[in-house]
């Protein structure tokens, strides 16, 4: 097991290097000269030169790459080009809001989708099952934007059940007042794809021998579905949830933008709008690292929960 983990970490190194190269290539080559972006519209050659020197842009490409690698290794991406705040600070201060929103959403959406999935798999092939799947396909074809725009307008603006937007410094106020509507809308958007996926996981299990054995023992159908089948279907579900955790930070960027929640996702959109390269670079590299690590954790958990899986 530990040999496997070590090898996986070892294999991460070339991928890591690739991500760094890709980000470097994107921002230093395709992105054009950042000095012009930074200096703004009214600038003279002197200003541009001094900015170039400050950012190390007058150095050869290899040296610039080395500077970037050092930034990644030391978690020091310098300051945001627009606000001057240090990039590390930006993430430290924006993370709590994102987590306040996403943690409850993740738990609720996984549980609801799981129950729905087992329920649908139970009546698989029936008109309820097929009808629900068609409705879900239709729901998935409605843009997430429409859910948010309509939800915010009807539930908050028109009916006044929730505040239209806002955020405070108090956790309990956030979770009780500001977070419910975004969470509800996030749930509406994610329930269809998650249920579809989890249903396919459950369907992979229902024809297994152990299910027939359980039925032959005379167990009730709810017990077969919700204890025997569910326990085995949980394995891919867990892997799926774990390896998608880093993406969650970004997944909420539209919710954060619409509801004025000062989270990581909204910060990324702002950074893209302002061409704030250090912030985008940092997010891309670290989210990629986090994705790799969580993928590994997911695989290891898979191995621990399902002894049939051989990791090599």
């Amino acid at each position: 097991m530990s040999a496997y983990i070590l090898r996986r970490i070892w294999q991460m190194i070339p991928t890591m290097a690739g991500v760094i190269l890709l980000v470097f290539f994107l921002f230093n080559w395709i992105g054009g000269d950042p000095a012009y972006v930074l200096a703004g519209l009214f600038s003279n050659q002197e200003q541009i030169d001094s900015i170039r020197a400050e950012l190390g842009l007058d150095q050869p490409l290899v040296v610039q790459l080395w500077i970037f690698v050092k930034q990644v290794a030391t978690f020091d991406f310098g300051n945001s080009w627009t606000t001057g705040e240090s990039v590390a600070d930006i993430f430290a201060t924006r993370l709590p809001a994102s987590l306040t929103l996403m943690a409850p959403l993740l738990v609720i959406e996984t549980l609801v989708a799981l129950v729905l999935a087992v329920g649908l798999a139970w009546v698989r092939g029936s008109s309820i099952d097929r009808g629900t799947m068609v409705v879900f396909t239709a729901l998935m074809s409605v843009s997430i934007l429409v859910f948010i725009i309509l939800g915010q307008y009807v539930l908050a603006y028109r009916l006044g059940w929730f505040p239209v937007q806002g955020w405070s410094d108090d956790y309990w106020k956030n979770i009780s007042t500001y977070a419910p509507l975004p969470i509800l809308l996030g749930l509406l958007v994610s329930i269809a794809p998650n249920t579809r996926l989890f249903r396919s996981f459950v369907l992979d299990e229902v024809d297994q021998d152990y299910v027939r054995t359980a039925r032959a023992k005379g167990l009730s159908e709810p017990r077969v579905m919700f204890v025997h089948v569910l326990r085995n279907a949980l394995i891919p579900v867990i892997t799926f949830v774990i390896s998608n955790l880093p993406g969650l930070l970004l997944g909420a960027f539209l919710l954060e933008r619409f509801f004025g929640i000062p989270g990581v996702g909204r910060e990324i959109i702002l950074a893209v709008e302002r061409s704030d390269f250090p912030v985008i670079k940092a997010v891309t590299v670290y989210v990629a690292i986090a994705t790799m690590i969580f993928n590994l954790i997911g695989d290891v958990l898979y191995r621990l929960t399902d002894p049939r899986v051989q990791l090599r």
């Binding site: 690739g18 395709i30 074809s141 934007l145 307008y153 539209l254 709008e273």
Partner: protein, 347 residues
């Protein structure tokens, strides 16, 4: 699902003919197929200019409600939407005219009352937007942009993924290692983040930029599947036989194997089209996509958000319904295609 053949023939049917027969018996698949074909015909006719080519014309009063909803509007909306005949000539521009009010008065003063010049409509089927443009025509024109962007980006991603996957699975060795490395790099960055990062560095808004962004980020899934298919097929008997009669590498890869894995490409292509259309809408909404002087379902949703605040819901409805019809149709079609083309897999 599979209808038993009643044809007594010595020649066995081809894989595509069999798939077609399976597909025909799938009612959901047939209807979704018809929906998709009709939508594509619509796109083709806007491309040729026979439909919605004058969507930018001011043909109605500002924010005219849909004709079928005229009676059902209550409260403050009703007073705002009472049809009034405006006397000035429609302007072809779509910018807000700062002196419109004064201009209108001046026009009224010049023209004798009662003389109607090209009166603006108040009874469009889907109403009009802020600038008096026909929302229905706008939705159709928006469909053209969104669907074409989706198709083009999906085509690019599918091509990239298929070629890379084929080469990687066929040759193996260092080519495979390199492609796998590239795949791992792209795969470890969440899609939406990569899309935003490329949008940030490109910093050029436009339809081509969207296609480029989505095309270069979407190829990973196709690559993985195609690589697997080529690994599987490379040692099959028919490929060895082709080798024995002296078929070149390229010939074996693209003439012998490709037809046998083309169903994977087809399914991937339509899956990617759905994903790209959805992504285009979000990118355009955020301002990184289709520029404001164009129209797509994404830019319509952006406008619709402001419209909704003053109670004008029809642009939102129109864009949403159009998008749902096409995307649902394409998604259901994809499911049916997969069932028809790959009957061994149970979904």
């Amino acid at each position: 699902m599979q209808s038993q053949s009643t044809v007594v023939a010595n020649v066995s049917e081809g894989a595509w003919a069999l798939a077609w027969r399976r597909f025909k018996s799938d009612r959901v698949g047939v209807w979704s197929g018809i929906t998709v074909i009709l939508s594509l015909a619509l796109v083709l006719s806007t491309l040729l200019g026979s439909l919605a080519s004058d969507w930018e014309k001011e043909v109605a009063i500002s924010h005219a409600p849909p004709s079928w909803a005229m009676g059902g509007i209550q409260g403050e909306d009703a007073s705002a939407s009472t049809p009034e005949v405006v006397l000035y000539e429609p302007t072809p521009t779509d910018v807000v005219d700062p002196i419109a009010a004064q201009w209108e008065l001046a026009q009224k003063a010049v023209k004798p009352a009662g003389e109607k010049v090209n009166a603006l409509a108040t009874n469009l089927p889907m109403g009009s937007d802020k600038w008096g443009r026909d929302v229905l025509a706008k939705t159709i024109k928006g469909a053209e942009t969104s669907i074409l962007v989706g198709l083009a980006a999906a085509l690019m991603a599918t091509l990239l993924g298929s070629v890379l996957g084929a080469v990687s699975g066929w040759y193996g060795g260092i080519v495979d290692d390199l492609s796998n490395w590239l795949y791992n790099v792209f795969h470890s960055i969440p899609g939406i983040l990569l899309i935003l990062a490329i949008a940030a560095v490109l910093n050029t808004k436009g339809t081509m930029a969207v296609v480029l962004i989505l095309g270069t980020t979407g190829w990973t899934g196709t690559y993985r599947l195609m690589r697997g298919e080529y690994l599987k097929h490379r040692n099959r008997d028919y490929v060895r036989a082709a080798d024995a009669i002296g078929a070149s590498n390229n010939r074996r890869m693209f003439v012998h194997i490709l037809p046998n894995v083309s169903h994977v490409i087809l399914v991937q292509f339509s899956l990617l089209t759905v994903a790209c259309i959805k992504a285009e809408v979000i990118l355009s909404f955020l301002g990184f996509g289709v520029p404001v002087d164009g129209v797509s379902w994404g830019t319509m949703l952006t406008e619709a958000q402001n419209d909704l605040l003053v109670g004008k819901w029809w642009q939102l409805l129109s864009a949403t319904v159009a998008m749902s019809i096409f995307v649902t149709g394409l998604s259901l079609l994809t499911d049916s295609l997969r069932d028809a083309l790959d009957p061994k897999v149970i979904h």
